[in-house]
C-alpha cells in the first residue's frame, strides 16, 4: 500500500515536471521508476532487459539493449526523492549491444529537497555500430538542498554513437558535481552536452572528458551555463586526440548575470597523434550588448530580452 502511494506520488511529481505519464503507463514503452532505494515500477519493452537490485542506499540497475534491437519508443527513466531528506545512489550498468539503437529519457525529481543526495555511477558500453542517446533532465525545488553527483564512464565501439544531454534549469541546482568521460573507438561519435542555470548559492562543477582512441573518432564536449546571484561554476572540458584523423572540440559558454557570480572555464585540448585535431572555444561574460539592443529594438524590455537570450542558450 505504501509502495502504491509512493508510486502515485512519483508519477504526480514526474507529470508536474513535464514527464509523459502515458509513456510510463504504456506496456510498449520501456520504463523504470525508482524512489529513493525502492523500485516502484519497471517495464521491459521488446529488445530491452532491465534488472534491478535494491541496496541500502539506492538501486543497482543493469540495462541491456539486445543486439540489433531498434527500440522504436524512447525508454523512460524516472528517479527521485520526494521527502525533504534522503540519499539515492544509483549504480547503472548499460550494455547496448552491436547494431542496437535506443533513446533514453531520464527525469530526476527532487521537488522538496532540503538535504538530499543523488549519486549516479554509470558504466556504459556501446557496441559497434550501436546508437545510444541519453537525455537527463532534473527538476529541483527552490531550496537548493540537493547534492547531485552524476559520474559516468562510457565506451563507444566502432562506428558507434553516444549522445547525451544533462539539463538542470528548473529550480535551484544546490551542488552539482558532474563528471563524465567517454572513450571513442574507430569512427565513433561522442557528444556530451550540459545545460545548467545556476542561481542563489548554487555550486556547479562540470567535467567532460573525451578520449578519441580510434581512427577518425569524433567528439564534442559542449556546456552552457547561465549564472546569477551568487552562483559559482567551474567547467573543465578535456578532449584528447589519440588516433589518426580524430577530431574533437570543446565548446563552453558561461553567461554571468549577477554581481556575486564566480565563473571559471578550463578547456584542455591534447593531441597525441600528429594527424589528429582538437579545438576549443570558451567564453565567459555578461549578456552580449548587441543581442540585447537587437531584441530591445524589436520592442522587448531589458528583462524580456535577457529572458529570451538565456532561454535560447539553455534550450
Amino acid at each position: 500500500m505504501v509502495a502504491v502511494r509512493e508510486y502515485e506520488a512519483m508519477l504526480e511529481a514526474y507529470s508536474r515536471a513535464g514527464g509523459s505519464l502515458e509513456a510510463l503507463r504504456s506496456k510498449d514503452v520501456g520504463n523504470l521508476v525508482i524512489h529513493g532505494n525502492k523500485v516502484l515500477g519497471v517495464n521491459e519493452a521488446r529488445g530491452i532487459k532491465i534488472e534491478t537490485q535494491e541496496t541500502e542506499t539506492g538501486v543497482n540497475v543493469h540495462f541491456l539493449v539486445e543486439e540489433g534491437a531498434k527500440i522504436s519508443h524512447p525508454v523512460h527513466l524516472c528517479f527521485g526523492v520526494l521527502p525533504q531528506q534522503g540519499l539515492q545512489e544509483i549504480v547503472l550498468e548499460v550494455e547496448a549491444l552491436a547494431d542496437s539503437e535506443v533513446d533514453v529519457i531520464a527525469h530526476c525529481i527532487f521537488p522538496n529537497a532540503l538535504d538530499v543526495t543523488h549519486r549516479m555511477n554509470a558504466d556504459i558500453v556501446i557496441g559497434d555500430h550501436a546508437r545510444f542517446c541519453y537525455h537527463e533532465t532534473h527538476y529541483h525545488g527552490e531550496s537548493g538542498g540537493v547534492n547531485v553527483i552524476p559520474h559516468g564512464r562510457i565506451r563507444v565501439g566502432k562506428k558507434g554513437l553516444w549522445q547525451s544531454s544533462f539539463t538542470l534549469i528548473e529550480g535551484c541546482v544546490g551542488t552539482l558535481d558532474y563528471d563524465f568521460e567517454v572513450f571513442g573507438d574507430e569512427k565513433s561519435v561522442s557528444e556530451l552536452l550540459v545545460k545548467v542555470s545556476g542561481k542563489k548559492e548554487d555550486e556547479i562543477n562540470v567535467v567532460e572528458r573525451i578520449y578519441l582512441e580510434g581512427k577518425e573518432a569524433r567528439g564534442l564536449a559542449k556546456t552552457r551555463l547561465v549564472l546569477s546571484d551568487n552562483a559559482r561554476a567551474l567547467f573543465r572540458g578535456e578532449t584528447y586526440g589519440n588516433a589518426p584523423f580524430a577530431r574533437g572540440h570543446v565548446d563552453c559558454l558561461e553567461i554571468v548575470n549577477g554581481d556575486g557570480v564566480v565563473a571559471k572555464a578550463i578547456p584542455v585540448v591534447c593531441v597525441n597523434d600528429k594527424r589528429a585535431k582538437v579545438t576549443h572555444e570558451a567564453a565567459i561574460g555578461s549578456i552580449d550588448s548587441k543581442q540585447m539592443q537587437t531584441l530591445m529594438a524589436r520592442g522587448l524590455s531589458e528583462e524580456e530580452a535577457v529572458d529570451v537570450i538565456v532561454k535560447g542558450i539553455l534550450r
Partner: protein
C-alpha cells in the same frame, strides 16, 4: 514624422556629428550616402537610442524622444536593421519574426518570401552561426518588416548580399515605403539608391546636400569620392 534637429556628438575630442539636421517622412525612402567614417552608423545608433547625442534633439511625431531608451522607441514604431546583425543561439527565425506578437504565421511567411528566403526552408532554422552573412541580413530585414515600423533605419542592408538576392532586398525596401514606413536607408550601393525617393549626402557630421537620387549620386561621385578631408570636407564646394 522623424526630425533630427541640430544633432551634435563629440567622441574622444573629435566631432562626429556637427549640427545635423534633416527629417524623414511617412512612406518615403531616404537614402543616406557618405564615405566610410562620416558617422552614418553613429547616427543610426543615436536614432535608435543605443547612444545619446551631446546636443540637439530627435523628435518623433511631435514628441522629443532624444533621451528615450531603445525599447520605448521600438514600441513607438522605430526600429533598426544592423549592418552586422547579432546572432542568437536557440532562437528560431520563426520566433524571431514573431517578436511582433500580432504577426500571423501567414504574414511571417510573406516577409520571408519578400527577402527571397523560402519559409519552409528557413522558419525552423536558428538565427545563429549556421546562417551565412547574407542570409542573416535578409532575416534581419524580414524581421524589421515584420515589426511594421513607422520608421525603419536600415544600416547597409545591401552590403554582402549576392547579386541574385539583391533584387529581393531592394523590392522589400520599396515595399516598406509603399506600406507607409518612413525608411532611412544607409548605403553605398547605387542599386539601393534607385529605390530611394530622396538622397541625403553626409560628410563631416552634417548633411551637405540632398535631392533626387540620380542627381545626388552624380554629385556624390564627383565630390565625395575625391574628398580627402573626412572630418574637414571642403564645404565651400557643396
Amino acid at each position: 514624422m522623424l526630425e533630427i534637429r541640430d544633432l551634435k556628438l563629440t567622441l574622444n575630442g573629435k566631432p562626429i556629428l556637427d549640427g545635423l539636421n534633416f527629417a524623414v517622412e511617412k512612406g518615403r525612402i531616404h537614402g543616406l550616402l557618405g564615405v566610410n567614417g562620416v558617422g552614418k552608423t553613429t547616427l543610426a545608433n543615436l536614432l535608435m537610442g543605443i547612444s545619446y547625442p551631446d546636443k540637439g534633439s530627435i523628435v518623433f511625431e511631435g514628441q522629443d524622444i532624444t533621451r528615450r531608451d531603445i525599447s520605448e522607441r521600438a514600441r513607438m514604431g522605430i526600429t533598426l536593421a544592423w549592418q552586422e546583425p547579432a546572432r542568437f543561439e536557440g532562437l528560431t527565425i520563426r520566433e524571431y519574426l514573431r517578436m511582433n506578437r500580432h504577426l500571423s504565421p501567414r504574414e511571417a511567411n510573406n516577409f520571408l518570401w519578400m527577402v527571397g528566403l523560402p519559409p519552409a526552408d528557413y522558419l525552423d532554422r536558428g538565427v545563429d552561426t549556421s546562417l551565412s552573412g547574407g542570409e542573416r541580413k535578409r532575416v534581419e530585414l524580414a524581421c524589421v518588416m515584420a515589426m511594421k515600423p513607422k520608421v525603419a533605419i536600415l544600416d547597409e542592408p545591401d552590403s554582402g548580399i549576392d547579386v541574385v538576392s539583391l533584387p529581393h532586398i531592394m523590392n522589400a525596401i520599396a515595399e516598406m515605403g509603399k506600406r507607409g514606413s518612413a525608411v532611412l536607408l544607409i548605403t553605398h550601393g547605387e542599386e539601393a539608391v534607385n529605390v530611394a525617393d530622396e538622397i541625403l549626402i553626409m560628410c563631416a557630421g552634417r548633411i551637405i546636400n540632398h535631392g533626387p537620387p540620380q542627381a545626388m549620386c552624380e554629385w556624390f561621385r564627383g565630390n565625395c569620392s575625391t574628398c580627402k578631408h573626412i572630418g574637414q570636407p571642403d564645404l565651400e564646394g557643396a
